[in-house]
């Protein structure tokens, strides 16, 4: 006990100090959206390069293991795929015809800005949420590459999530299967609006929940495509979320809810595409602009 310095502060005071600081930060974070500021930048420089390296090594090893395993499978699959190719070629030619027709119609309606026109940035997933409660992950592109909060993230053909935090060379993405995620969506075929929410409980079965769907005519069937809706304030319209798995009438007899299978394989995400165009939002400070014709505002994006 003698060796203890006289001026050392008792640990309970340090604990109280840290506790107060944490509570202040939580309040700041809740009210002003404080997310670590310079701390994020500094730790980004510390972690991102190492995490990138580890991931490359990991991918290399898993690729090598997969190669051997897959060889036999691939042989069998090749024959099946050849058949499918023939079938799809026929289907494709039919679709091409329809596509030309669609293009003509789009040109007529000046709706030629579909989501293939969004500018995108490819990024690698370099780290996953350390806990088991949430589904967020870190990508290796940040504000230096033009990533901002609220940008949409895709993988392959489907919606992965949204950027929720940005550092200099990293960004945090919250997946749509995260328990706190809500996406305003619609059924592609009927244009009925609904809400898609991530759910940890349902995710163990590989599905996420869909609710508040008005479908009085029972037109929405198993496998119907669910895409992001026009009325969403953060997601671009028409991004594929998944396919209807099952639907049940709610107790109020007006709306339906059920589950959908996501279009993206969240277990094996390696690289994603970030749409660097943000959905245009109404700025409350902005002076009211000259009224534009209805219908156009929905599809226009920020340059």
């Amino acid at each position: 006990m003698r060796r203890r310095k006289r001026d050392s502060i008792p640990s309970k005071y340090i604990l109280t100090g840290i506790g107060v600081i944490c509570v202040v930060f939580m309040l700041l974070s809740y009210t002003l959206g404080f997310q670590g500021g310079p701390l994020g930048t500094v730790s980004g420089y510390l972690f991102v390069p190492i995490q990138k390296g580890i991931n490359y090594v990991g991918w290399y090893l898993s690729d090598r293991a997969d190669n051997l395993q897959d060889l036999r499978l691939v042989m069998a699959e090749r024959d099946a795929l050849q058949e499918q190719v023939d079938q799809l070629t026929i289907e494709n030619s039919q679709l091409m015809q329809e596509k030309y027709e669609l293009e003509d119609l789009r040109a007529l309606y000046e709706l030629d800005r579909s989501y293939s026109d969004y500018s995108k940035v490819a990024a690698n997933v370099i780290g996953k949420d350390s806990g088991n409660w949430f589904h967020s992950f870190i990508i290796d592109k940040g504000s230096q590459d033009g990533i901002e909060v609220d940008m949409n993230v895709l993988s392959g053909s489907g919606l992965v999530g949204i950027v929720t935090k940005v550092g200099a060379d990293w960004a945090q993405v919250r997946a749509i299967i995260d328990d706190t995620s809500n996406v305003s969506a619609m059924i592609l075929s009927t244009a009925d609006n609904c809400m898609v929410s991530g759910d940890l409980q349902l995710m163990s079965k590989g599905v996420i929940s869909v609710s508040q769907l008005k479908d009085s005519d029972n037109q929405v069937v198993f496998g119907a495509k669910v895409v992001t809706s026009q009325v969403s304030d953060k997601y671009h319209p028409g991004l594929l979320i998944g396919y209807i798995q099952d639907l049940e009438m709610d107790a109020n007899n007006l709306t339906k809810s059920g589950t959908i299978t996501p279009a993206v394989d969240f277990e094996h995400l390696r690289s994603v595409l970030v749409i660097t165009d943000k959905k245009r939002q109404i700025d409350p400070d902005e002076e009211p602009a000259v009224t534009e014709p209805d219908g156009e505002t929905d599809t226009e994006e920020e340059p």
Binding site: S11, L15, Q35, S62, D129
Partner: protein, 173 residues
Amino acid sequence: MKKRICMFFLVVFCFILQNTVLKALELGAVSPNLLLVITAAIGFIGGRKEGMYMGVLCGMFTDIFYGQLFGYYTLLYTLIGYANGFFHAVFYDLDIKQPMLLIAMSDLAYGLIQYFFQFLLRGKFDFGFYFTSVILPEFLYTVVLILLFYRGILVLYEKLDKLDNTGSVDEFV
């Protein structure tokens, strides 16, 4: 001072391991919590203050990269480190059962706190599901991790402690 620097890099190392390698070794969508293991372990090996400093670092990194409310994880890990520090007085380093029990209890507490603040308060009432499919598997997986890592942490900490203490004694003399 050397000890502090080494501890900092230990946290960095464990944090990276946690988010890359251990996430790749998930079983049933659940991975063990290495950050909690080192925070709790340093807590009862080194005392309340050491545990707290460890908790601050682990929590802060988690907050920066994966947090939603900045400061939440920092507070949580700090409290875990501090609470484990109370057992420093009865800590006996040749016995593995006691540290295992302490760390396992910490992980259970962590899981329950997470459920309470992040899920129950948002109206997710199915405690049975969350307990059996997240809290319990993480608890068991973490126990396995203790067996693998605990001895290493203990030896490392004691070496660093000696390094710093001999240094300070020399200065004193």
